[in-house]
Symmetry: C2
Subunit: 145 residues, 2 copies
Protein backbone atom coordinates (compact mmCIF):
# COMPACT_ATOMS: atom_id res chain seq x y z
CA UNK A 1 0.00 0.00 0.00
CA UNK A 2 1.23 3.46 -0.98
CA UNK A 3 1.95 5.36 2.27
CA UNK A 4 0.13 8.46 0.99
CA UNK A 5 -3.01 6.53 0.10
CA UNK A 6 -2.81 4.99 3.56
CA UNK A 7 -2.63 8.50 4.99
CA UNK A 8 -5.71 9.50 2.96
CA UNK A 9 -7.52 6.45 4.40
CA UNK A 10 -6.50 7.53 7.90
CA UNK A 11 -7.99 10.98 7.15
CA UNK A 12 -11.23 9.30 6.04
CA UNK A 13 -11.34 7.33 9.30
CA UNK A 14 -10.72 10.52 11.28
CA UNK A 15 -13.74 12.03 9.52
CA UNK A 16 -15.82 8.99 10.36
CA UNK A 17 -14.82 9.18 14.03
CA UNK A 18 -16.01 12.80 14.03
CA UNK A 19 -19.40 11.65 12.75
CA UNK A 20 -18.62 12.84 9.22
CA UNK A 21 -18.46 11.39 5.74
CA UNK A 22 -15.46 9.00 5.49
CA UNK A 23 -13.51 10.44 2.58
CA UNK A 24 -9.91 11.55 2.98
CA UNK A 25 -7.27 13.23 0.84
CA UNK A 26 -3.57 14.06 0.90
CA UNK A 27 -1.62 16.43 -1.36
CA UNK A 28 2.03 15.57 -1.87
CA UNK A 29 4.63 17.98 -3.23
CA UNK A 30 8.04 16.67 -4.13
CA UNK A 31 7.64 13.63 -1.89
CA UNK A 32 6.41 15.59 1.12
CA UNK A 33 2.87 16.04 2.43
CA UNK A 34 1.74 19.60 1.69
CA UNK A 35 -1.81 19.22 3.04
CA UNK A 36 -4.25 16.66 4.38
CA UNK A 37 -7.99 16.83 4.69
CA UNK A 38 -11.29 15.05 5.00
CA UNK A 39 -14.88 15.80 4.14
CA UNK A 40 -16.30 18.47 6.51
CA UNK A 41 -19.98 18.58 5.53
CA UNK A 42 -21.18 17.43 8.93
CA UNK A 43 -18.39 18.86 11.09
CA UNK A 44 -18.43 22.38 9.62
CA UNK A 45 -21.77 22.43 7.82
CA UNK A 46 -19.68 22.92 4.69
CA UNK A 47 -20.89 22.29 1.15
CA UNK A 48 -17.51 23.02 -0.43
CA UNK A 49 -15.09 21.15 1.87
CA UNK A 50 -15.07 17.76 0.22
CA UNK A 51 -11.92 15.87 1.25
CA UNK A 52 -9.86 17.06 -1.72
CA UNK A 53 -10.94 20.68 -1.21
CA UNK A 54 -10.14 20.46 2.50
CA UNK A 55 -6.65 19.12 1.71
CA UNK A 56 -6.13 21.96 -0.80
CA UNK A 57 -7.35 24.50 1.74
CA UNK A 58 -5.08 23.09 4.44
CA UNK A 59 -2.12 23.19 2.04
CA UNK A 60 -2.54 26.97 2.01
CA UNK A 61 -1.89 29.52 -0.72
CA UNK A 62 0.71 28.19 -3.14
CA UNK A 63 2.21 29.50 -6.35
CA UNK A 64 1.28 27.72 -9.57
CA UNK A 65 4.56 25.81 -9.94
CA UNK A 66 3.93 24.01 -6.64
CA UNK A 67 0.52 22.69 -7.69
CA UNK A 68 1.98 21.65 -11.03
CA UNK A 69 4.40 19.33 -9.20
CA UNK A 70 1.87 17.79 -6.82
CA UNK A 71 0.15 14.43 -6.59
CA UNK A 72 -3.32 14.39 -5.05
CA UNK A 73 -4.43 11.24 -3.24
CA UNK A 74 -8.09 10.70 -2.47
CA UNK A 75 -9.95 7.70 -1.11
CA UNK A 76 -12.85 8.23 -3.56
CA UNK A 77 -13.25 9.21 -7.22
CA UNK A 78 -13.32 13.05 -7.35
CA UNK A 79 -16.72 14.69 -7.91
CA UNK A 80 -17.14 17.45 -10.55
CA UNK A 81 -16.25 20.20 -8.03
CA UNK A 82 -13.03 18.54 -6.84
CA UNK A 83 -12.20 17.66 -10.45
CA UNK A 84 -12.57 21.34 -11.32
CA UNK A 85 -10.24 22.33 -8.48
CA UNK A 86 -7.63 19.83 -9.73
CA UNK A 87 -7.92 21.35 -13.22
CA UNK A 88 -7.87 24.97 -11.96
CA UNK A 89 -4.61 24.43 -10.14
CA UNK A 90 -3.10 22.15 -12.78
CA UNK A 91 -2.38 19.20 -10.48
CA UNK A 92 -0.92 16.67 -12.93
CA UNK A 93 -1.54 13.36 -11.13
CA UNK A 94 -4.37 11.93 -9.04
CA UNK A 95 -4.35 8.61 -7.18
CA UNK A 96 -7.88 7.40 -6.41
CA UNK A 97 -8.62 4.83 -3.71
CA UNK A 98 -11.75 3.55 -5.41
CA UNK A 99 -14.41 4.37 -7.99
CA UNK A 100 -16.78 1.44 -7.40
CA UNK A 101 -19.22 3.18 -5.02
CA UNK A 102 -19.10 6.56 -6.85
CA UNK A 103 -17.65 7.49 -10.22
CA UNK A 104 -16.75 11.17 -10.42
CA UNK A 105 -15.40 13.14 -13.36
CA UNK A 106 -12.35 10.98 -14.05
CA UNK A 107 -13.05 11.20 -17.79
CA UNK A 108 -12.73 15.00 -17.67
CA UNK A 109 -9.44 14.68 -15.78
CA UNK A 110 -8.03 12.28 -18.40
CA UNK A 111 -9.29 14.46 -21.27
CA UNK A 112 -7.34 17.33 -19.73
CA UNK A 113 -4.12 15.36 -19.53
CA UNK A 114 -4.21 14.46 -15.83
CA UNK A 115 -2.56 11.14 -14.97
CA UNK A 116 -5.32 9.20 -13.18
CA UNK A 117 -4.55 6.03 -11.23
CA UNK A 118 -7.44 4.04 -9.76
CA UNK A 119 -6.36 1.57 -7.08
CA UNK A 120 -9.76 0.14 -6.14
CA UNK A 121 -8.49 -0.66 -2.68
CA UNK A 122 -10.77 -3.05 -0.78
CA UNK A 123 -10.65 -1.00 2.45
CA UNK A 124 -11.73 2.16 0.61
CA UNK A 125 -14.59 0.31 -1.07
CA UNK A 126 -15.77 -1.31 2.16
CA UNK A 127 -15.66 1.99 4.04
CA UNK A 128 -17.90 3.75 1.51
CA UNK A 129 -20.24 0.77 1.02
CA UNK A 130 -20.88 0.67 4.78
CA UNK A 131 -21.28 4.44 4.99
CA UNK A 132 -23.70 4.72 2.06
CA UNK A 133 -25.81 1.80 3.30
CA UNK A 134 -26.29 3.48 6.68
CA UNK A 135 -26.39 7.16 5.60
CA UNK A 136 -28.01 7.31 2.19
CA UNK A 137 -29.66 10.71 2.77
CA UNK A 138 -26.43 12.38 3.91
CA UNK A 139 -24.52 10.78 1.07
CA UNK A 140 -27.03 11.96 -1.52
CA UNK A 141 -26.78 15.49 -0.13
CA UNK A 142 -22.99 15.38 -0.51
CA UNK A 143 -23.19 14.47 -4.19
CA UNK A 144 -26.16 16.70 -4.99
CA UNK A 145 -28.71 13.98 -5.75
Amino acid sequence: MDIFLQQAINEAKKGQEEGGIPIGSVIVYDGNVLGTGHNKRVQKGSVVLHAEMDALENAGRQPAFVYKNCILYTTLSPCPMCTGAILLYGIPKVVIGENKTYLGSEKLLVENGVDVIVVNDSECIQMMEDFIKNNSELWNEDIGV
Copy 2:
Protein backbone atom coordinates in the same frame (compact mmCIF):
# COMPACT_ATOMS: atom_id res chain seq x y z
CA MET B 1 -29.52 46.12 -14.49
CA ASP B 2 -30.72 42.89 -12.89
CA ILE B 3 -30.96 43.52 -9.13
CA PHE B 4 -29.19 40.23 -8.35
CA LEU B 5 -26.26 41.01 -10.65
CA GLN B 6 -26.09 44.40 -8.95
CA GLN B 7 -25.94 42.60 -5.62
CA ALA B 8 -23.09 40.42 -6.92
CA ILE B 9 -21.25 43.60 -7.97
CA ASN B 10 -21.81 45.01 -4.50
CA GLU B 11 -20.26 41.84 -3.07
CA ALA B 12 -17.25 42.27 -5.38
CA LYS B 13 -16.83 45.85 -4.15
CA LYS B 14 -17.05 44.66 -0.54
CA GLY B 15 -14.20 42.25 -1.30
CA GLN B 16 -12.17 45.05 -2.83
CA GLU B 17 -12.71 47.25 0.21
CA GLU B 18 -11.37 44.41 2.36
CA GLY B 19 -8.21 44.34 0.22
CA GLY B 20 -9.35 41.24 -1.60
CA ILE B 21 -10.02 40.15 -5.18
CA PRO B 22 -13.13 41.96 -6.51
CA ILE B 23 -15.36 39.09 -7.57
CA GLY B 24 -18.84 38.64 -6.13
CA SER B 25 -21.64 36.12 -6.36
CA VAL B 26 -25.27 35.67 -5.34
CA ILE B 27 -27.37 32.51 -5.32
CA VAL B 28 -31.09 33.01 -5.81
CA TYR B 29 -33.73 30.40 -5.00
CA ASP B 30 -37.27 30.97 -6.09
CA GLY B 31 -36.72 34.73 -6.36
CA ASN B 32 -35.06 35.06 -2.96
CA VAL B 33 -31.37 35.40 -2.13
CA LEU B 34 -30.17 32.13 -0.57
CA GLY B 35 -26.53 33.12 -0.24
CA THR B 36 -24.06 35.85 -1.12
CA GLY B 37 -20.28 35.75 -1.24
CA HIS B 38 -17.05 37.17 -2.55
CA ASN B 39 -13.56 35.89 -3.17
CA LYS B 40 -11.76 35.26 0.16
CA ARG B 41 -8.22 34.39 -0.98
CA VAL B 42 -6.67 37.39 0.73
CA GLN B 43 -9.10 37.77 3.63
CA LYS B 44 -9.09 34.11 4.76
CA GLY B 45 -5.99 32.79 3.00
CA SER B 46 -8.44 30.52 1.18
CA VAL B 47 -7.70 28.72 -2.08
CA VAL B 48 -11.22 27.30 -2.40
CA LEU B 49 -13.40 30.31 -1.54
CA HIS B 50 -13.80 31.89 -4.94
CA ALA B 51 -16.87 34.13 -4.98
CA GLU B 52 -19.22 31.42 -6.23
CA MET B 53 -17.93 28.90 -3.68
CA ASP B 54 -18.28 31.47 -0.89
CA ALA B 55 -21.88 32.14 -1.90
CA LEU B 56 -22.59 28.40 -1.97
CA GLU B 57 -20.95 27.99 1.44
CA ASN B 58 -22.93 30.88 2.89
CA ALA B 59 -26.15 29.41 1.48
CA GLY B 60 -25.56 26.45 3.79
CA ARG B 61 -26.44 22.80 3.42
CA GLN B 62 -29.37 22.41 1.05
CA PRO B 63 -31.20 19.43 -0.39
CA ALA B 64 -30.75 18.70 -4.09
CA PHE B 65 -34.14 20.10 -5.15
CA VAL B 66 -33.19 23.55 -3.86
CA TYR B 67 -30.00 23.77 -5.93
CA LYS B 68 -31.90 22.50 -8.95
CA ASN B 69 -34.17 25.56 -8.72
CA CYS B 70 -31.45 28.14 -8.20
CA ILE B 71 -29.86 30.82 -10.37
CA LEU B 72 -26.24 31.66 -9.64
CA TYR B 73 -25.07 35.21 -10.39
CA THR B 74 -21.36 35.93 -10.59
CA THR B 75 -19.47 39.05 -11.70
CA LEU B 76 -16.88 36.96 -13.60
CA SER B 77 -16.89 33.87 -15.81
CA PRO B 78 -16.66 30.81 -13.49
CA CYS B 79 -13.29 29.04 -13.30
CA PRO B 80 -13.08 25.22 -13.62
CA MET B 81 -13.53 24.73 -9.83
CA CYS B 82 -16.65 26.90 -9.60
CA THR B 83 -17.96 25.34 -12.80
CA GLY B 84 -17.53 21.93 -11.18
CA ALA B 85 -19.44 23.07 -8.10
CA ILE B 86 -22.30 24.31 -10.31
CA LEU B 87 -22.38 20.92 -12.05
CA LEU B 88 -22.11 18.92 -8.79
CA TYR B 89 -25.15 20.63 -7.33
CA GLY B 90 -27.06 20.79 -10.60
CA ILE B 91 -27.62 24.56 -10.63
CA PRO B 92 -29.49 25.02 -13.92
CA LYS B 93 -28.80 28.69 -14.71
CA VAL B 94 -25.79 30.98 -14.37
CA VAL B 95 -25.74 34.74 -15.06
CA ILE B 96 -22.20 36.01 -15.69
CA GLY B 97 -21.25 39.68 -15.33
CA GLU B 98 -18.43 39.44 -17.83
CA ASN B 99 -16.06 37.04 -19.60
CA LYS B 100 -13.77 39.59 -21.30
CA THR B 101 -10.98 39.64 -18.69
CA TYR B 102 -11.17 35.89 -17.93
CA LEU B 103 -12.97 33.10 -19.72
CA GLY B 104 -13.72 30.17 -17.46
CA SER B 105 -15.35 26.84 -18.27
CA GLU B 106 -18.56 28.19 -19.80
CA LYS B 107 -18.32 25.63 -22.60
CA LEU B 108 -18.45 22.79 -20.07
CA LEU B 109 -21.48 24.38 -18.42
CA VAL B 110 -23.30 24.64 -21.75
CA GLU B 111 -22.32 21.08 -22.74
CA ASN B 112 -23.93 19.93 -19.49
CA GLY B 113 -27.19 21.72 -20.18
CA VAL B 114 -26.69 24.76 -17.95
CA ASP B 115 -28.37 27.92 -19.18
CA VAL B 116 -25.50 30.43 -19.39
CA ILE B 117 -26.17 34.15 -19.81
CA VAL B 118 -23.21 36.50 -20.31
CA VAL B 119 -24.06 40.16 -19.70
CA ASN B 120 -20.61 41.71 -20.32
CA ASP B 121 -21.50 44.58 -18.01
CA SER B 122 -19.11 47.53 -18.35
CA GLU B 123 -18.73 48.00 -14.58
CA CYS B 124 -17.75 44.34 -14.11
CA ILE B 125 -15.19 44.57 -16.92
CA GLN B 126 -13.69 47.82 -15.61
CA MET B 127 -13.43 46.47 -12.09
CA MET B 128 -11.45 43.40 -13.17
CA GLU B 129 -9.31 45.29 -15.72
CA ASP B 130 -8.22 47.72 -13.00
CA PHE B 131 -7.64 44.92 -10.51
CA ILE B 132 -5.58 42.73 -12.86
CA LYS B 133 -3.47 45.69 -14.02
CA ASN B 134 -2.49 46.51 -10.45
CA ASN B 135 -2.36 42.98 -8.96
CA SER B 136 -1.17 40.60 -11.65
CA GLU B 137 0.68 38.29 -9.27
CA LEU B 138 -2.30 37.86 -6.93
CA TRP B 139 -4.61 37.39 -9.87
CA ASN B 140 -2.39 34.73 -11.42
CA GLU B 141 -2.33 32.89 -8.10
CA ASP B 142 -6.12 32.92 -7.99
CA ILE B 143 -6.43 31.26 -11.40
CA GLY B 144 -3.48 28.92 -10.96
CA VAL B 145 -1.16 30.39 -13.58
